[in-house]
């Protein structure tokens, strides 16, 4: 009998283990949200809400302090432990209404959030953009297990984010344009939708994966082949480099239904529709790709300059082959690039960014060397809370690539200088 039970258990585990993914529904307060009745907040009003807050209720889950930071569309609340909020806001009669959801990045815990800032508790000051943030109190409730709930929530404004921190150009770079498919975000990695979504997670820059189609079009995709982990099941499967862009356009959808974007489409959206300041092009191909990518990089940098946008687009150089390909391009020393290899390689190709793997340590001496040469240093891909905290407190990197921008954001914005 034990044999039968053991065999049955093994088979059940085997079959359950083959599930390709699990959907995590983004909690919502429903279609009759009061936000529909509110008026939008101005940018100065939003910026007044940025700061460090004390958690008066909800600190069991969200820690003792949080960072609130507005991005282009959303308000992000960053916690010390990997939890974060993505909220929308509006005002009605000098009361600021906040709605959205919280999420824990290391599992699928999530819940809806509804909160407000009363007229006398900072609401009127925010609506009038008076500049007086002291005294803001956010009250509300959050749900557990994905539901709208009534667990009490209260944040009290403690202090502003240090001007020294705000003035420092520190890049919070989101891996695969915002996070991996395995992180169960509501949009697909390496998609236009994710580029639109990522600022709500606290990102100030993105890393995107670039590959060439059979007809030489650079597209965004991470894996070497089309597979059911990243794409919806369709009539195409196999290495992405085998297919033309037209075939991918018509026959492939990313896991949440988006089309596979070309690099040009992705950068166009980044320039025109976001406030992101850094783009790291992670070149996935082993075949030469630089000649297809550099003209697009150049065009988009010019477009950003024409719009008065602060935007850096760096071509990633992850291998000796990529460096060889890069050095075959005319004027390569003037092309903005990011080198993942040694500091000697960085100097050889005159990369603007040195980006070592995080497991190599903080390497403060080499980072200082890069700084002395007018270069910057990023590290990748750092996801653990403790390591992020240590790298931000002890390291001198100018940016961190992560799947969890809100954790990097929390420890960065909490700094005093």
């Amino acid at each position: 009998m034990k044999k039968y039970l053991f065999a049955l258990l093994c088979l059940a585990l085997l079959m359950a283990g083959c599930n390709k993914s699990k959907e995590v529904t983004v909690p919502s307060v429903g279609p009759n949200s009061i936000l529909n009745e509110t008026y939008p907040l101005s940018n100065p009003s939003r910026m007044m809400m940025d700061g460090i807050y004390t958690v008066n209720s909800g600190n069991d889950l969200f820690g003792d302090q949080v960072v609130i930071k507005w991005s282009r569309l959303k308000m992000t609340i960053m916690c010390s432990n990997g939890r974060y909020f993505v909220l929308e806001a509006g005002q009605l009669d000098s009361v600021v209404i906040l709605q959205g959801y919280w999420r824990y990045c290391y599992n699928d815990n999530t819940g809806a959030v509804a909160a407000y800032i009363g007229r006398e508790e900072g609401g009127a000051d925010i609506v009038n953009a008076s500049g007086r943030s002291q005294g803001i109190i956010i009250r509300g409730g959050y749900g557990l297990s994905g539901n709208v709930g009534n667990e009490p929530l209260q944040f009290t404004y403690l202090r502003p984010i240090s001007p020294a921190v705000l003035n420092k150009h520190f890049s919070i770079l989101a891996h695969r344009s915002g996070g991996r498919t395995s992180d169960h975000l509501p949009v697909s990695e390496n998609s236009i939708a994710m580029i639109n979504f990522t600022e709500g997670l606290g990102s100030t820059g993105i890393e995107i994966d670039v590959q060439l189609t059979a007809d030489g079009i650079p597209v965004l995709y991470h894996d070497a082949d089309l597979n059911i982990r990243l794409t919806q099941k369709g009539p195409l499967s196999g290495p992405i480099k085998d297919f033309t862009y037209a075939q991918l356009f018509y026959l492939v959808r990313l896991i949440h239904g988006e089309r596979l974007p070309t690099l040009r489409e992705a950068l166009l959206f980044t320039v025109d529709s976001t406030l992101l300041t850094d783009v790291y092009l992670d070149m996935k191909e082993k075949v030469p790709t630089m000649s297809a990518v550099i003209p697009i990089q150049k065009e988009m940098l010019q477009r950003a300059r024409d719009k008065g946008r602060e935007l850096n687009i760096y071509i990633g150089l992850p291998s000796a082959d990529a460096i060889t390909d890069f050095m075959n391009q005319p004027g390569y020393k003037d092309i903005p690039s990011l080198c993942e290899l040694t500091t000697d390689d960085v100097q050889t190709v005159n990369s603007h960014v040195w980006a070592p793997r995080w497991t190599e340590g903080t390497q403060n001496d080499l980072v200082a060397l890069m700084h002395s040469q007018g270069r910057i240093a990023w590290t990748w891909t750092l996801d653990d809370v403790d390591w992020i905290q240590q790298y931000i407190s002890d390291g001198h990197f100018d940016g961190i690539l992560t799947n969890y921008p809100f954790i990097v954001g929390y420890y960065h914005y909490m700094r005093e200088n």
Partner: protein, 203 residues
């Protein structure tokens, strides 16, 4: 539903396999009754109908051609026990999709598979066998209609097969019978079944 069917079949296979060596050698099996045979090997060839359980997100099942002719080749080592071991390969078309995408584009997509399974087979009663088989598979996708014709291939590493076979001895060396087969290809999450007429020869 597919997973329940697979689980049930694999449970049956495994539970039988676990008890497979409780008894000693059982004479009388058409495949293991060697008599004057020189070896313990059998070669089998099968051909028949295959059916794909369409599960595409992007193409409705009604637009997917699912029924084709498939073939299988199996080489078995059959010692004088209930259990035998072997290798199986074959050729199957998994699906064909013909779509009109726009006024400009129509498209034909075909996927074929050549599996290589390690087969563990057990004789349940005279002439009737059950087998399970993990293995590899080479999958070919051929696209025509949008741009140039493209053939792409990939390896699927996690694949399973379950088979129920019936063999009837038609002479001392030859057997004929039928096989019902369920195959799962992990890389593409494809499930298919086939019913083959099988001809086997004792080597």
């Amino acid at each position: 539903m597919r997973k329940i069917v697979i689980t049930a079949l694999l449970c049956l296979m495994t539970s039988v396999t676990l008890l497979s060596q409780v008894k000693d050698t059982i004479p009388g099996s058409p495949l293991t009754d060697h008599g004057s045979r020189l070896s313990h090997f059998t070669l089998a060839f099968g051909a028949g109908w295959s059916h794909y359980f369409a599960n595409m997100d992007l193409v409705p099942a009604r637009n997917v051609q699912k029924d084709f002719i498939g073939t299988s080749f199996r080489f078995m080592w059959e010692p004088e026990y209930r259990l035998s071991l072997g290798l199986e390969t074959g050729f199957y078309r998994i699906f064909r999709v013909d779509s009109t995408l726009t006024a400009e584009y129509s498209m034909k997509s075909r996927m074929n598979v050549v599996p290589l399974f390690l087969v563990i087979r057990m004789r349940i009663v005279d002439n009737f066998y059950l087998s399970i088989a993990p293995g590899l598979a080479l999958q070919y996708t051929k696209i025509t209609g949008i741009g140039p014709e493209i053939t792409s291939h990939q390896f699927s590493m996690a694949n399973f097969e379950a088979t129920a076979s019936y063999f009837y001895p038609i002479s001392k060396l030859f057997l004929a019978g039928g096989e019902a087969r369920l195959m799962y290809f992990g890389k593409t999450d494809d499930l298919m079944m086939s019913f083959n007429a099988v001809f086997a020869v004792k080597l």
